[in-house]
């Protein structure tokens, strides 16, 4: 019983570490895509700064969202795909 609980706890800890690593790996490119999309809309240093303002506000929210549940992870992935597609279309 105790061994089962210890194994459970170890597996849970491993899943959580994997989850936070995955959340960072997914969220960072999405935030970067959002920044570049905004920067490409009109070009220039000002829109790049606007992109940074928005992307840096989004980044921690995206990490928490990704880590919180699978639905969150899927949602962020979908948002990333849209941002990447928008980037391709704009450039």
């Amino acid at each position: 019983m105790t061994t089962d609980r210890t194994e459970d706890r170890t597996r849970q800890a491993r899943n959580r570490v994997a989850g936070i690593v995955l959340a960072c790996l997914v969220s960072y490119p999405v935030a970067w895509c959002v920044m570049m999309d905004i920067a490409h809309v009109a070009g220039g240093a000002a829109t790049l700064q606007l992109g940074q303002i928005v992307a840096l506000a989004c980044l921690p929210v995206l990490v928490v969202l990704c880590f919180s549940a699978y639905a969150g992870l899927l949602g962020v992935c979908a948002a990333g795909c849209i941002a990447a597609l928008a980037g391709v279309l704009v450039s």
Binding site: R5, D8, R9, Q12, R16, I20, P29, A31, W32, M35, M36, A39, A46, T47, L48, Q49, L50, G51, Q52, I53, A55, L56, A57, L59, P60, V61, V63, V64, F67, S68, A69
Partner: protein
Amino acid sequence: MRETLRTRLGWLHGWAGFVAGLLAACIFMTGTLSVFDTEITRWMQPENRVPAKTALTDTALDAASSLIHEQQLHGVPVFLALPSVRSPTLDVLHYDGRQFVGTRFDPRTGMPIPVRATMGGTFFFSFHYTLLEGVTGTRIVNIIGVALLVAIISGTVIHIRALVPDIVRLRLSAARLRGWLDAHLLAGVLVLPFTVMIVYTGVLVNAGLILPATSLAHLLAPEKPGTPATSGTKAATAARRPLPPLAPLLAIARCSLQGRDAGFILFSPDHLSIYASDASGPFLTRDHADFSLPDGRLLGATTTPGPVAHAMQVMHGLHYARFAPLGLRWLYFVSGLCATATIASGLVLFLMKRRSRSGHRIGFRVGESLTIATLTGLPISILAFLWCNHLLPASMAGRERLETGCFLGIWILCTGHAGLQSSRLHMNAAWRPQLRLIGLLGGGLPVLDVLTCPRAVYALPALHTALDGMGLLAAATALYVRHRLGSDRT
């Protein structure tokens, strides 16, 4: 074992908060001190007894101008910091690779003030955003900032139902864990808007380091070498001639910069640029008026237009708080202390919750030693740095390097002490002696100040009272915590 959103985010809050919190506590502690960096520099240079709001004379400007011209002939890139409410001296400065050094002039007479060499309050400022590691340090600080935002968001989600009750709940007499949790929540909730603002704007200040505007594939590409200057001969000829009188240029620049005061003047071989003061408003701009050399003809004014640029300037202005009057700077200071207390109580809580289950593990003991090194070792090093400044002979060569060495050496000693004192079952025994040392150094700071610099204390009583009062506050807090630790040693 069923996992809910609350338990999952609780784990994230705990671990992200602990890992980031060890460095974040250092960043917040030194950042809080940086609110008064200019005042700390004045405290550390007791020879500088020029009163605030002293009028700047043409004589002083001419004296500074002569020195600048001399240094230009030697090829030293210098700038002139004009007197302000916080720093009333006229300073001819250059960057020596670690800090800005130079000559301070009395704004009334133009006589150089023979101040002692010191790292000053700018040491805390540099530590705050670089961890004394240059660009790599700044990048680490930015990553810690984002991790802290993650911890704040997850912490807010898990405490969302009790945010308002937490403001009025502090049960110091309850169980130890409950008391620390109440203190963590009270301090955290009270300054939550300030903490979010200061962390977010801090990350934005160097946003390019964490979110560069280059393709991810180009990040590792080597930089192209810079192109050499083309107007060398013309510039060298211009530098040989004396500078024009600066007072009329300052008046013209004031008109060109929409009535804003000038903060500093940058000198190039063929032109000079007068920059608007950071204290002139919440927009931290680099707006400037350019004048040709040596005739002093106005070349034009450069301002940054556009709402996005203004938004970014406000973000920078809010973080640096250079526009803030004295009362608002004290509010920043108190809020910074509360944010530091939130992180500190969070670190202690993290260890307390895990002591019974993981106290025997080497990882836990390393974590506790690092926590002690952060929460008590850093204040000891800061106080030792201030003591070192007053105890070393004023004319000693290389004393600023010794100050830094003293700071780092004592911090390493504190870390080593905490590491050696770790125990398998009980609370680390290093807490109590280190807290006592903070009490001793902090409580002794006013005595040291009065004994070593009585004339400066007499000339600038408010400044010295405030700085010595901070030492007393640190001592009182440390002795109170030590007293609370006294009853329970688990």
